[in-house]
Amino acid sequence: MSEAMALNLLLFLPVLGGIVLLALPERRADLVRGLSMVVLSAQLLLAAWLYFQFEAGVPGLQFETRIPWIAAWGVHYHIGLDGLNLLLVLLSAFLGPLVVAGAFTSITKDVKLFHGMVLFLQFTMLGTFLAQDLFLFYLFWEAMLIPMFLIIGVWGGERRIYATLKFFLYTAFGSILMLAAVIYLAFTVLTQDGSPSFAFTDLYDLGFAVEVQLLLLAAFALSFAIKVPMVPLHTWLPDAHVEAPTAGSVILAGVLLKMGTYGFLKLGFPLFPDAAQIATPLIMTLAVVSIIYGAGLALVQDDIKKIIAYSSVSHLGYVMLGLVSYNLLGVQGAIIQMVSHGLVAGGLFLMVGMIYERCHSRDLAAYGGLAKLLPVYSVFFMILTLAAIGLPTTSGFTGEFLVLLGAFHAAWPQFEAGATYPLVLVSVAVLGIVLGALYMLRLARRLLFGEARAPEAEGGTLRDLGLREKAILAALVAAVFYIGLFPNDFLQKTEQAVIEYQERVWPARAGEGGQ
């Protein structure tokens, strides 16, 4: 099997699985679950294989497929792996089986539809990451909303309709302006090059006036920033997370949010470098505001899911900060932070789901001393909490450390040149790690420590984690530690793409160290 074919297979496995799924009888929930599990596991294996086949240090795309699709418009079915999407693809593939496994007992209604939607979602997410054609990208980008809309809306909590509509309408609003920008780009290519094209590589080379760039970047950035989400465009997130079923939250936090940051990384900044340079202080400011604001909000929530949701706002602020450092340290850190957040927040949501399944409450005040009641659970929860805080040896540290180092590295020369503001922002961001510890430890303290109590726990006994749950969490924790301890392999594979990124966006910065 050639690698390019394998990549196509990777993308289309969920679709194939979905077709088989259609044929399964609605009643046989076990078959449906088993099939999804098999499909997604196969996808994970394939992704892992591709990861190992991926050669570090080779410029451009690998395992590329490019087939004309809408010939008249120059739209191609064009996918490929590069350093920017490699890890995210791996992350999506990794979380897929875990999500399905996590939903074994929690989803009992409309099982077939649910798994169909998960597979559909997986397809669209991978498509978004793999697409190398703007039209294709947009297609997947938007299509992703549909399964998520249903997942939140059908299997969600009490206010699921409100939450899912808010999610859909919020994100769709960003997308609509992005669509305008996409169309504008499309016909600009046509006028400049004489032939229509949506290929990223062609679009990178378009030269726009700065004013136009700013408008286009604003359109793209709005869409991406909503998905990230950056303050002040984040209010859909807590609602969506709280109301979504566990699987929805996991995918949302684990992968969907990364689409926003990936969008900036792959499209937003490289397409409009001049505008990106101008907007950098603003984006930095928003990133830091997100870090602080998210941390503050997470501190005053009493809904466990909301705490983790707001923590996502904070954590993705770090990613954005890393992206706008435009040096290897920061951007590499941002990529690692994306993966790390996917694992950690995804894992935390899974764990909240597990406890919710047992106690049917997400109210922090209802719990206490779970370390006594559920020791194994607590160990895993503590590890993930610490990873969220960014304790060294966990993935969270690798990401945050590199991001902050990179950001500082970028801010210092400016400070020496007389611009204090970036340095102040970075310092505030560094202080954000304190705030992060504040809310996460509050969560851990109230949930795990103190007097042992939990709703619906008869006689104070609760069933601790089963083998399935342990396996899920063990996989996550292993990944968290692996990235914390041995990130180098990942970094080597992404480096080349990051160098290309920084040279595309801000070559002058690229020279300033970090590369």
Partner: protein
């Protein structure tokens, strides 16, 4: 030999994993073997490493384990670095650590989370060894944060008590504030030097190529990190609360080893501080102030462990004073001696608490000397050591510190010396106060408690004896001279160079004065002291309130932050401004929909009128000029 340091570091980690994963199932015997055996092995390995180092004439041993990350031109390696400084630290850590593990067998007997306790303790040793052996700031930081984690876990060891869990959180958060400074300092150094290997950093700064401004900034930032870990003003507030953990933990982590990490850090990066006199001055000032203020607070504390905690803060202040005047070796020397006598004190206190079934209030003790003689004897020796009575360990190290505070060519000043001396006096005072109130005089114990008083098992008293012995002899090693090739002592101010002998005599006098004052004030359960405090009520209140720093943080930082988060971010920001505008738009759309619905009234006449209107409108529009 290659791999020696790696083995040294990994031994406790193995202990953590074994005890953490299997301990619960395999029972206390297994836990004991693993929990004691591995740290002891680690200590032996450390000795072996030290021997190897000395065999090589003190040339640093560098051991690279693996490459953590390569980013562009920057290489982040995990490597260990053994020179005399880290060797001393490693020996203290593993030595005292092993002893305290041993002590814990008796102390923690029967605790339901016995295995967890040893697992945490081993985890702590692992991170502490990473901290002291790490070659790069990054590895040091890993250990730095890791010991913080272990500290957090152990403070909150009895997590079902909310106050204890809170104390753990407080320790972690306060440390994090310091860590933020640490990180910024690290970033700054990295940006300036391009590496995080500490030996290379020292070289680079020593080369004089780095501007003083950067050195000062980096020095101050790193010092902020050190104030967090080493409980210096203004980040000292967590340490007294940390006494919520099991007492051996207080001894090991919050007295002997972890809290000295800040001292180690600054000594390790002395190259930076030599280039940053301003930062050094700041360190000296903060150090002496911390020493003094903590000592004053210790005077009025009534919890046996809290007294020791403030004493620890105070002693750490001394170390920083030494660091601030450039006497890095002296600081490490004090660190070294302090490790023994403070561990002995804490473990002695533990023994007392153990004997009294958990009683910690010194007002309800007294007259224990006869009941638990071994504990008393060792406690006495350690108290004398910390008070600076010759020829015990504390005498040597503290005297050196005061001497350099006066005479160092790198910032020695009379007022530093004066305040330090006053603190030394206070040290003797509050330590002997403690001794008097706990062991001497008449018993003030609850009858129920009194009946159960018993001497601790041999595993505990044995450790106490060993530590007491070291409290005597530790000062006889001329550690500053041993470290001098690495950490040269500062030049003396010529005009004060001759005063050393006078200073020694003066220091001894102070210690004796403290002893006398304490014995006078705290006879009969401290009645004279109470009388004295009644005359100084206001001061007493301030001291009891620990200068109200906790309250200040609560009112000045924590509550405002919660208030801002709740009122500004959540209620105003998210709910009113963001969601509010969103809902406003939605309502607008709904209104629009309703209006359009009303327009579609069903009346044919009205529809025709709309059509007419439309036609008239478009006609007027296209005919509006010409």
């Amino acid at each position: 030999m290659n791999g020696m340091l790696t083995i040294l570091v990994l031994l406790p980690l193995a202990g953590f994993l074994l005890n953490g994963l299997l301990g619960r199932r395999l029972g206390p015997a297994f836990v004991n073997v693993v929990g004691i055996g591995l740290p002891t092995l680690a200590f032996l390995t450390a000795l072996w490493a030290w021997r190897t180092l000395e065999a090589g004439g003190g040339a640093p041993i560098i051991e690279t384990v693996f490459t953590w990350a390569v980013i562009g031109e920057y290489v982040f390696e995990v490597s260990f670095y053994l020179d005399r400084l880290s060797a001393v630290m490693a020996l203290i850590v593993t030595g005292v650590g092993a002893l305290i593990h041993l002590y814990s067998i008796g102390y923690m007997k029967g605790d339901e989370s016995y295995a967890r306790y040893f697992a945490y303790l081993n985890l702590f040793l692992f991170f502490m060894l990473l901290l002291v052996l790490g070659r790069s700031l990054l590895v040091l930081f890993v250990g730095w944060e890791g010991v913080g984690l272990a500290s957090y876990l152990l403070i909150g060891f009895w997590f079902q008590d909310v106050a204890k869990a809170r104390a753990g959180r407080k320790a972690f958060i306060t440390n994090r504030v310091g860590d933020a400074g640490f990180l910024l300092g690290m970033f700054l150094i990295f940006t300036a030097v391009g590496t995080l290997e500490m030996d290379l950093i020292n070289e680079a700064f020593a080369g004089g190529l780095i501007p003083v401004g950067i050195a000062t900034a980096a020095g101050i930032l790193l010092f902020i990190g050190a104030t967090g870990k080493s409980a210096q003003i203004p980040l000292h507030v967590w340490l007294p609360d940390a006494m919520a953990g099991p007492t051996p933990v207080s001894a090991l982590i919050h007295a002997a080893t972890m809290v000295t990490a800040g001292v180690y850090l600054i000594a390790r990066l002395s190259g930076v501080y030599l280039e940053a006199p301003a930062a050094s001055t700041l360190i000296a000032v903060i150090g002496v102030l911390t020493a003094f203020l903590a000592a004053t607070i210790a005077l009025v504390q009534t919890d046996i462990k809290k007294v020791l905690a403030y004493s620890t803060i105070s002693q750490l202040g001394f170390m920083f004073l030494a660091l601030g005047v450039g006497a890095y070796g002296v600081a490490v020397f004090h660190l070294f001696t302090h490790a023994f006598f403070k561990a002995a004190l804490f473990l002695g206190a533990g023994s007392v608490i153990h004997a009294l079934k958990g009683e910690q209030d010194i007002r309800r003790m007294g007259g224990l000397a006869r009941r638990i003689p071994w504990t008393f004897a060792t406690f006495l020796i350690a108290t004398a050591a910390i008070a600076g009575l010759p020829p015990l360990a504390g005498f040597f190290s503290k005297d050196e510190i005061l001497w350099f505070a006066l005479a160092s060519g790198q910032g020695g000043a009379v007022w530093l010396w004066a305040l330090g001396s006053l603190t030394a006096l206070l040290t003797a005072l509050y330590m002997f106060r403690l001794l008097w109130l706990v062991f001497l005089g008449t018993s003030r114990m609850e009858p129920e408690t009194e009946r159960h008083v018993h001497e601790s098992p041999i595993s505990m008293t044995g450790v106490l004896v060993v530590l007491a012995v070291f409290s005597v002899v530790a000062g006889w090693f001329a550690l500053p001279h041993y470290l001098e090739p690495l950490l040269p002592l500062p030049e003396l101010q010529p005009e004060r160079a001759g005063l050393h002998m006078a200073q020694i005599i003066f220091a001894v006098m102070l210690a004796l004065l403290g002893l006398l004052a304490a014995s006078w004030l705290y006879r009969e359960g401290g009645k004279p002291a109470d009388l004295l405090w009644q005359n100084l009520q206001r001061l007493h209140r301030v001291l009891l309130g620990r200068y109200f720093v906790d309250e200040l943080y609560d009112r000045g930082l924590q509550r405002p932050w919660r208030w801002v988060s709740d009122r500004v971010f959540l209620r105003l920001g998210d709910r009113v401004l963001l969601d509010g505008s969103l809902h406003g738009l939605a309502a607008l759309a709904r209104r629009g929909a309703e209006m359009f619905g009303r327009i579609q009234s069903g009346s044919l006449h009205w529809y025709a009128w709309m059509t007419l209107f439309g036609i008239a409108a478009v006609l007027i529009w296209v005919w509006r000029y010409v």
